[in-house]
Amino acid sequence: MLSPYGLDIIESCLTCKMRADQIFCDLPEAALQSFEQIKYATAYPKGAILFVEGQAPRGIFVLCKGRVKLSICSTDGKTLILKIAEAGEVLGLSASVSGKPYELTAETIDPCQVNFVKREDFLRFLKEHADACLRVAEQLSEKYNSACREIRSLGLSHSAAEKLAKLLLEWTTKNGEGAKQEPRIKLALTHEEIAQMIGTSRETVTRLFAEMKKRQIVQAKGSTLVIRNKTALKALATT
């Protein structure tokens, strides 16, 4: 199907090719059939807001394609990005299960396909399908794990340099370049967004990158960052 954002909309989960790789989507046939009944396939442009923190939970959003920025906000307007969610993740899960307000704000950073499921339908679906329930538990566990990592990095790191170094190292392990002598990272975020990820200001991030370049720890090639001196970066991350 042709769509305005150049997205290939996957209408049915039953014929979805990416299904097998995703924790939540890889459901047994029967569960998938009934999931198909309750979901709404929707497409969003870049910059759309799926839900806002503090809103009463409407339901869950299964991210099929694209990336979504998950952030929290303080009363004085400061933003902290918790995570960039990728295809296969279920968003708004814990709020929908517990009935408490959404604890994060989800905003698309690419054109996205999202499958929405209403809260009541989703809870009924979980009660009927134990398999799906376990998958949901698994997803929640993973989110809990990454929230704990976030707490560790925010609460126990001393300097912004340490947090930035940790973030860069985490990205290299995530994209499979971690073992290489000079890992490369494609920087998909702006300095502002990186600052929001590690809880500092945009100016600090720009200054830190400039310092790292001066010390030959990293080198920028367009939007790709090459880590020239992994040992030095690791040393920065553990100070």
Partner: protein, 164 residues
């Protein structure tokens, strides 16, 4: 033979423990019960997850640690709580360290047994999902209080009241 959860007086007040008689019988079959002393380490952060611990009584301290050895207290868990749930279900290593604050009775359930038990008892699985959601809410609350307060001093002050 270990004492059955059926005789536990607190069972009906605790969401996880309040199972049907059949499920309780099955649960009795897979659990290991022990009384551990004060300061006993239930599990340590970074260790591979073996299973979950249920606090029958007493309290446990949950904390995380940085590479340089700084410790951040997350919260104190009370009776009836299930610890190590996230790590056990995802099969990853424990994300926090749990240490008993009192001499307490705990129940341990192995990962393999727990997964099988949850698969056979959807209502308990649902309860587990609810538990995890609450844990996650608490963790995000914590991220907010640590990550968004500007001054370091303000963070430290916010850390303390959470410990209760």
């Amino acid at each position: 033979m270990q004492p059955s959860c059926n005789h536990c007086a607190f069972r009906s007040d605790r969401p996880f423990c309040d199972m049907s008689p059949e499920a309780t019988r099955e649960f009795d079959g897979i659990k290991e019960q022990a009384v551990l002393g004060k300061n006993a380490l239930l599990f340590a952060e970074g260790r591979p997850s073996r299973g979950v611990y249920i606090l029958c009584e007493g309290r446990a301290k949950l904390s995380i640690c940085s590479e340089s050895g700084n410790r951040l207290m997350l919260r104190v868990a009370g009776p009836g709580e299930v610890l190590g749930l996230g790590a056990t279900l995802s099969g990853e290593s424990y994300e926090v360290t749990a240490e008993l604050l009192d001499t307490a009775q705990v129940v341990f359930v192995k990962r393999k047994d727990l997964l099988k038990f949850l698969r056979e008892n959807p209502s308990i699985c649902m309860e587990v999902v609810r538990r995890l959601s609450d844990d996650l809410h608490g963790a995000y609350e914590r991220v907010r209080s640590i990550g968004l307060s500007r001054a370091r001093r303000a963070r430290v002050q916010r850390v303390r009241p959470m410990a209760s």
